[in-house]
């Protein structure tokens, strides 16, 4: 049998909404507090307590749904998903079931064979459970309910992905989108972005995929990609042997770098959903929906395309500069003051990002104001200071602040083009290196760089290298 199988991959993404308060009560959603301190009768599930919906959470979920091109339902209904677990305080999770907030969206990304459109099946709002700590005490599990009731959206994608790399791209794109929208922090370490994947194989061109398996506990981008690779390989081998794929849930074990099945009990599948009687249907006025649509910022994919068209940036540059909304905002502010967009792009991608990485700074609070950086780039492009000197000024500005013009002036860093001074330095250098002068004249023209460097050194970097080079060449070849 040489049937060729192609993978069919779908993602389910859980995203924590960036609200200061929980979904159904006003407790804080802050991460990392002392256990069981951000709790109240509602999120503890005390007898008699009732949920009240947080409008901020609904608004953020609406933004996400609009940005993913979904159809927003004017009426959606909260439903109870019933199951027992010690960190699920009420014995049910308030979620949405047959009447979700939104359905039928799409998300576009660069797939292996060109642009790929991934359909969004649905987006719904739900509350998070608490946290079970299995290693805290010997012989028992500890439960912290600070996280119980934190607002989430679940985004369910149709199985339109054909490769683990595309799954990773898709998740990355969604993360960038939701960060742009300020819907979520999308921090995988803190659990504000979680992903499950389902995968099946179908014969190439075949319409019907086989049984699918679900992958859980994919706690990083690389876990997603690696687990999918392993699972596809496992399914391929089974099919090659003529064995059947069994529908099951598997977990990614990062320590052992393997996927393995989780035993599921049949009954645990029966969630007995029914409409949450403690909450009215969620009604969204058409005006509220259109206002939210108007308030959407330019989405990252649109912005990336615009950076290409408007600034003439290569695809790579546009991608790097739109990785986050704050970085793209910073870049566009620099462009307003810079001599040209490409110079601005090069400096932001190299120098600014390097500084951010080294100093753990983020674009929103980067100490060098965009107009100051723009001014610095003007000085460099106009040749008033050298590129090297420009970098030096950049770090001075980062450390001590100040305007580039002032720094250059005060510290005498301006480039020197005065022919008299340049000739003095050149004469001194040629006098010191008679051998090299001879070799140059015998045809070793690459030694020109060496002479330029020496002159620059003598001038403490202030000589205009282009002028130096021109003068040197004229002098040596005369």
């Amino acid at each position: 049998m040489t049937t060729d199988w192609e993978p069919v991959i779908g993602l389910e993404v859980h995203v924590q909404l960036r609200t200061p308060q929980k979904l159904f009560c006003s407790d804080s959603t802050e991460f990392g507090a002392e256990p069981n301190t951000h709790v109240c009768p509602v999120c503890l599930g005390l007898p008699g307590a009732l949920p009240v919906v947080n409008p901020d959470a609904v608004h953020l979920a609406l933004r996400a749904a609009l940005a993913l091109g979904c159809r927003i339902h004017r009426t959606s209904i909260f439903a109870r998903k019933n199951y027992f677990y010690p960190d699920l305080p009420k014995g049910y999770q308030i979620s949405q079931y047959d009447r979700p907030l939104a359905t039928g969206g799409r998300f576009e990304l660069q797939g292996s064979g060109g642009p790929l459109r991934v359909r969004v099946s649905r987006i719904h709002i739900e509350e998070d459970a608490g946290k079970s700590l299995h290693d805290r005490f010997d012989g028992c599990t500890a439960v912290d309910l600070n996280r119980a009731g934190v607002p989430l959206v679940e985004i369910v994608f149709e199985p339109d992905l054909g490769h683990p790399r595309e799954a990773r791209e898709c998740l990355g794109g969604v993360k960038r989108l939701l960060e742009y929208l300020e819907v979520s922090d999308c921090n995988m370490e803190e659990g504000s972005l979680r992903v499950d994947a389902n995968v099946s194989l179908r014969s190439c061109g075949g319409a019907l995929p086989g049984c699918k398996t679900e992958l859980k506990n994919l706690n990083s981008f690389s876990a997603l990609e690696r687990a999918l690779h392993l699972e596809i390989k496992r399914q391929r081998e089974l099919l090659a042997r003529g064995a059947a794929i069994v529908s099951q849930t598997l977990t990614w074990d990062a320590a052992r770098a393997e996927v393995r099945p989780i035993r599921t009990k049949e009954e645990s599948q029966d969630y007995r959903y029914f409409p949450e009687p403690d909450l009215p249907p969620l009604e969204l006025a058409p005006e509220a929906i259109s206002a939210a649509r108007r308030a959407l910022p330019e989405l990252p994919a649109e912005r990336e395309a615009r950076f290409g068209q408007e600034y003439g940036l290569p695809h790579h540059d546009a991608g790097v500069l739109t990785a986050s909304r704050a970085l793209a905002d910073y870049y566009e502010s620099v462009v307003l003051h810079a001599p040209d967009p490409k110079t601005a792009a090069n400096w932001v991608m190299e120098t600014v990002l390097q500084a951010m990485n080294e100093r753990l700074l983020d674009p929103a609070s980067f100490p060098i104001a965009p107009d100051a950086l723009g001014e610095l780039l003007q000085l460099v492009v106009e040749g008033r200071i050298s590129r090297v000197m420009g970098k030096e000024v950049f770090w001075k500005m980062l450390d001590a602040g100040g305007r580039p013009g002032d720094i250059v002036h005060a510290q005498g860093l301006e480039q020197i083009r005065d022919q008299g001074r340049l000739h003095e330095w050149i004469a001194a250098v040629l006098d010191e290196h008679p051998d090299e002068v001879g070799r140059y004249r015998r045809g070793e023209v690459r030694l020109l760089g060496h002479f330029v460097g020496e002159v620059m050194r003598r001038s403490a970097g202030r000589a205009d290298p282009r002028a130096v080079s021109d003068l040197l060449r004229a002098r040596l070849e005369s």
Binding site: C25, N36, L133, T251, I262, S268, P280
Partner: protein
């Protein structure tokens, strides 16, 4: 619809109730009697049902939310198992262990 002992045990497991054999048999009979009574709903003519099962109207959708209600009785006093600020229960397998029973 007849109810079997297995039905009763399946539902009891879902509801986390442990039944003795005798209770299971008694409850099967009682459930059967109640279900027989409620099955007269099948005679209701739903042909002109407007489709709405919601009988409640709400008028307040987006009111400001109240502050969290302060707990006047500490959790440590009401929790059956409590240690260092945490609720404690018998050891659960971690996610992914073969016995993890979380709704999957």
């Amino acid at each position: 619809m007849s109810v079997s002992r297995e039905d009763v045990l399946r539902v009891a497991a879902l509801a986390r109730l442990r039944l003795t054999d005798r209770e299971a048999v008694e409850l099967r009979d009682e459930l059967a009697a109640i279900l027989e009574h409620v099955e007269r709903l099948e005679q209701a003519d739903l042909a002109d049902d407007s489709g709405s099962s919601r009988v409640i109207e709400w008028t307040v959708a987006w009111a400001p939310r109240p502050e969290p209600d302060i707990l006047r009785v500490p959790l440590s006093e009401v929790a059956p198992g409590w240690r260092d600020g945490l609720f404690v229960v018998p050891r659960l397998p971690a996610l992914g262990d073969p016995d993890d029973g979380r709704g999957l």
